[in-house]
Amino acid sequence: MSLLDYFRSTKKNTASTAKERLQIIVAHERNRRNSPDYLPQLERDILAVIRKYVDIADDQVSVSLEKSSDELSVLELNVTFPDDKK
């Protein structure tokens, strides 16, 4: 770094921001890539069923399939209910 750089205002390190963002999106996309094709439709169907009873937004249901071993996969369903609907 030069002497002039030293006196310039220190800018945010954008490379580390890029790295953090990439790590998150890449992990997310890899997870999706390894899941079966029916998962998005399953998620929509589950959302529709729950909506029959409780008014929830799209992002309040998450479905993921985790392969824990060759024989066993775990389907994980997370539903966040809005506070006033409890």
Binding site: S2, L4, D5
Partner: protein, 269 residues
């Protein structure tokens, strides 16, 4: 048996054709009989980068359709005896490549050549899928920039699931990372992802790092693969890359900022 190497990236403009031309030329310079195939149907450019654009008579699609044979379509390089180019067609639609047709041509080429380099088009359409389908090894060209890294990861997913090796349960495609347009000065300033950052995210073996270089544009301007410009940093970096691809251990160069004189250190620049 010939080794089939795909040069791919997902994202466009990262240096696939430049790298295909350089790597293909570099391998041929070692005496291996090498052919570089342009898979970018409708947007051929390998011929221009290799400087043989005025010698194109027949193309890859003509050969697949039986309108010409390989001998008629392949262009022999004027600089290196063992190097040939198979140009893409300029007019046909993008779906002109059939899996059976490509396989037939690759099998025919494999009889005669040591290395077959497939220059993939950008994207994840049929042309790109066809370029990677039969590969034994893949060179994933990536710029140290978010969209390129993400697309490379996408392509790595395709390599491990949509290739012939994956479908037939054979050992997977050997994946190599080629980082291009690398600027160590910006990395030091925290403005660019470092080799380590990209390596950590993509988690594949580093094959080479090509510095951002004026030599690349000069080379494409004149239709000379940049690896022939052996005085340039990019040319030398590609020579190292080819050596590693052939299994040699070569230390990485051009990763650090050149030492500056006292005046530059004080005033920047």
């Amino acid at each position: 048996m010939a080794k089939i190497i795909v040069v791919t990236s997902g994202k466009g403009g990262v240096g696939k054709t430049t790298s295909s031309a350089a790597i293909g030329t570099g391998i041929a310079m070692r005496g291996f009989k090498t052919v570089i195939i342009d898979f970018d149907i409708g947007l051929r450019n390998l011929d221009l980068i290799m400087g043989c654009e005025r010698r194109v008579v027949y193309d890859f699609v003509n050969v697949i359709n039986g309108e010409a044979n390989l001998k008629q379509a392949m262009i022999k390089d004027k600089r290196i005896d063992t190097l040939f180019i198979l140009p893409a067609s300029q007019t046909r639609d993008k779906d002109a490549l059939s899996k059976e047709g490509v396989e037939r041509i690759l099998n025919e080429l494999a009889q005669e050549f040591d290395y077959i380099i497939c220059d993939s088009p950008a994207g994840i359409e049929s042309g790109a899928m066809m370029a990677l389908y039969f590969a034994d090894e893949a060179v994933v060209v990536t710029n140290p920039e978010v969209s390129s890294v993400r697309d490379s990861d996408r392509i790595l997913g395709m390599l491990s699931s949509k290739s012939r090796r994956a479908e037939q349960g054979l050992p997977g495609i050997k994946e190599h990372l080629l980082l291009t347009r690398y600027n160590p000065e910006r990395v030091v300033k925290g403005e660019m992802l470092s080799v380590e950052d990209v390596g950590e995210i993509l988690a594949i073996k580093l094959l080479g790092v090509i510095p951002e270089s004026q030599a690349v544009l000069n080379a494409s301007n004149s239709g000379q693969p940049v690896i022939l410009d052996q005085d340039s940093d990019a040319g030398q970096a590609y020579l190292d890359t080819v050596a590693r691809l052939l299994g040699e251990e070569v230390p990485f160069r051009f990763l650090n900022v050149e030492k500056k004189g006292l005046l530059k250190r004080i005033f920047g620049g």
